[in-house]
Amino acid sequence: MTAVATAERRFGGLGAATAGRRRVNGLVIYAISYLAFIYVPVMFLPLFSFNDSIYIAFPLKGFTFEWYHQMVNSRGLVQALQNSLKVAAIVSVLSTILGTLAAKAVTRYRMPGKAPAVGFILIPLVIPGIIVGIALLVIANVVGVPLSLYTIGIGHMLECTAFSMVVMISRLEGFDKNLEEASLDLGENAWSTFRRVTFPLAIPGLIASLLLTFTISFDEFILAFFLAGNEATLPIYIWSQLRFPTKLPSVLALGACILGVSFIVVTFAEWVRRRGVKGIQVKAVSEVPR
């Protein structure tokens, strides 16, 4: 049987299919090793955060919560975390508003100079952050604005608004301009059209934009490094801790926590999404009289 099967596979019409499967298998192996490349380094953070040794090296010494304990009791860390959350929350909301307005203008109106205007807004994406940071530092210095969380926020706004506009343009282009016209045609003015049609249809894009801009701002270091005053954001706090070997394990604990939280958030979002889809389907099936 096996011999026949092999012969058939070798000479028969199945040749192409098997070749195809073999190629896919190669890709699967590649994909898994790539995932390993992405994950393994990051996974050392949680691993060593429970290791009962100040040195980050094999072999593992034993299990401990000591570093988590240290982390929670660090005033600086908690303060930095609060600062980062504050900045990221405000920046993500404001930049998404600006990005949405700009995207609406770009996708819905014919106007001269549109391409240059869009290019101008996207500049923060094509200039290295260090130069933007320095430029803002220089002007703050010249104008006499003290460095603070606000200056960091302004820096983040530049990059986040550009990203938000890109996300929102693709979302707004994704649904028909006629839908908004239909709403105007049916007697709703510009604002209520936005509220009743554009906004509900743009929600996936808005969520994506908020998540993206929040993450960017929360994790941003290069700009913040130049623009921070006395109050540190989390990345700046981490940077200051990396120099002291004794502080390293609690930094690892912090990294593990961030990883854990983002994993929970993403899983939760995905769960909500799936439930949402299923919920709508169930509702639709049960409510429609046939």
Binding site: F175, N178, S183, D185, L186, G187, S192
Partner: protein, 366 residues
């Protein structure tokens, strides 16, 4: 502006950069009529419709709806509603919510709204579909919802932008009749944009034929078909044979036209452009020509040629007759009355064609 006009378009132009989408166009649409804008794509008919709805603004000229100037009236305050080409059904709302969308401003009670929506659902024969999601509708159903959503607003004018274009042939023909009947029932003025001449002829009271941003002719379907004003209209609506000729003589309202290879053709005088010595284009519809396999005994125009090729359509055949000295063969429609399985299609056999003087339209030469 006449009393009966619901829409008056006065010398309106719309330029997109260097492109003149609508070019100095004027027309009047009467209250309660089914009016079609017919033309090839890019002729400006959709731009004109969108100017009526308020989505585009005229570069020049003025639009009046029910006597009111529209120069400063935004779309949401105009007494018109539109059925979009792709229907623009709100994907996040169900059928009922879609239909009731425009009622919010009317400040109705919930019961009133529900009653109105139910009535409209009945009218478009979709009762029972109210709770369906937008993406669960077929093309025809979407079209009905779009119609209902606009009609429930009781607009003075309903604008329809090629609403049947996305439907298959059979459904389209059904909807043509239904739309026509609906328009008569509700009595609202319909302005209907289409590139399908058959559709325009079937449904409309009057049709405006457009080309390159201008109106070529506004007339009833019969007039458009039987008495087109120029070659472009004649060629766009139905098929037409054209021959160049010179008017030789006019007598008792009948003209004798010299069409070189065909000899002398008799026709009725149909306008001041027909005068002795004038160059005209002789136009004859293929279905108005009768073909014979022997010389016919008749007073009408007769020419002789040979059968060049045929095309079979079941109920009819198109014959193409080659005439010595004529560039294009003459097209003739032969109705397949008898059940004939072979013969008659022998190419190169001699054929005699005949048509009465009444069948000829004389167009200004171009």
């Amino acid at each position: 502006m006449s009393e009966r006009s619901i829409i008056s378009i006065s010398n309106v132009s719309k330029y997109f950069g260097p492109v003149r989408a609508v070019d100095g166009l004027s027309l009047e649409i009467q209250r309660g009529e089914f009016f079609s804008l017919l033309g090839p794509s890019g002729c400006g008919k959709t731009t004109l419709l969108r100017m009526l709805a308020g989505f585009e603004w005229p570069t020049k000229g003025e639009i009046f709806i029910d006597g009111q100037p529209m120069a400063a009236v935004p779309p949401h305050q105009r007494p018109v509603n539109m059925v979009f080409q792709n229907y623009a059904i709100f994907p996040h709302l169900n059928v009922r919510q879609n239909i009731a969308y425009g009622l919010r401003k009317a400040k109705l009670t919930q019961a009133e709204t529900a009653r109105k929506v139910n009535e409209t659902l009945d009218m478009i024969k979709l009762s029972g579909y109210g709770l369906r999601a937008a993406d669960e509708l077929s093309g025809g159903e979407r079209q009905r919802v779009a119609l209902a959503r606009a009609l429930i607003k009781q607009p003075k004018v309903l604008l329809l932008d090629e609403p049947l274009g996305a439907l298959d042939k059979k459904l389209r023909e059904e909807m043509q009749l239904e739309l026509r009947a609906l328009q008569k029932t509700v009595g609202i003025t319909f302005v209907f944009v289409t590139h399908d001449q058959e559709e325009a002829l079937t449904m409309s009271d009057r049709v405006a034929v457009m080309s390159a941003g201008k109106v070529l002719q506004i007339d009833s379907p019969t007039q458009l078909y039987e008495a087109p004003v120029n070659q472009e209209v004649a060629g766009f609506i139905g098929n037409m044979n054209f021959f160049d000729g010179l008017v030789r003589a006019i007598k008792d309202g009948r003209a004798t036209v010299d069409v070189g290879p065909l000899g002398e053709i008799h026709a009725l005088v149909n306008g001041p452009h027909v005068s002795v010595g004038a160059a005209v284009t002789v136009a004859v519809r293929p279905e108005k020509i009768t073909s014979f396999s022997a010389p016919p005994n008749t007073e009408a125009n007769v020419v002789q040629g040979v059968l060049d090729k045929t095309a079979y359509f079941g109920d009819r055949s198109h014959l193409y007759i080659r005439i010595e000295g004529l560039e294009k063969p003459i097209a003739v429609v032969a109705h397949n009355v008898a059940r004939e399985l072979e013969g008659s299609g022998d190419l190169n056999r001699p054929v005699w064609l005949s048509w009465p003087a009444e069948a000829v339209v004389l167009l200004p030469s171009e």
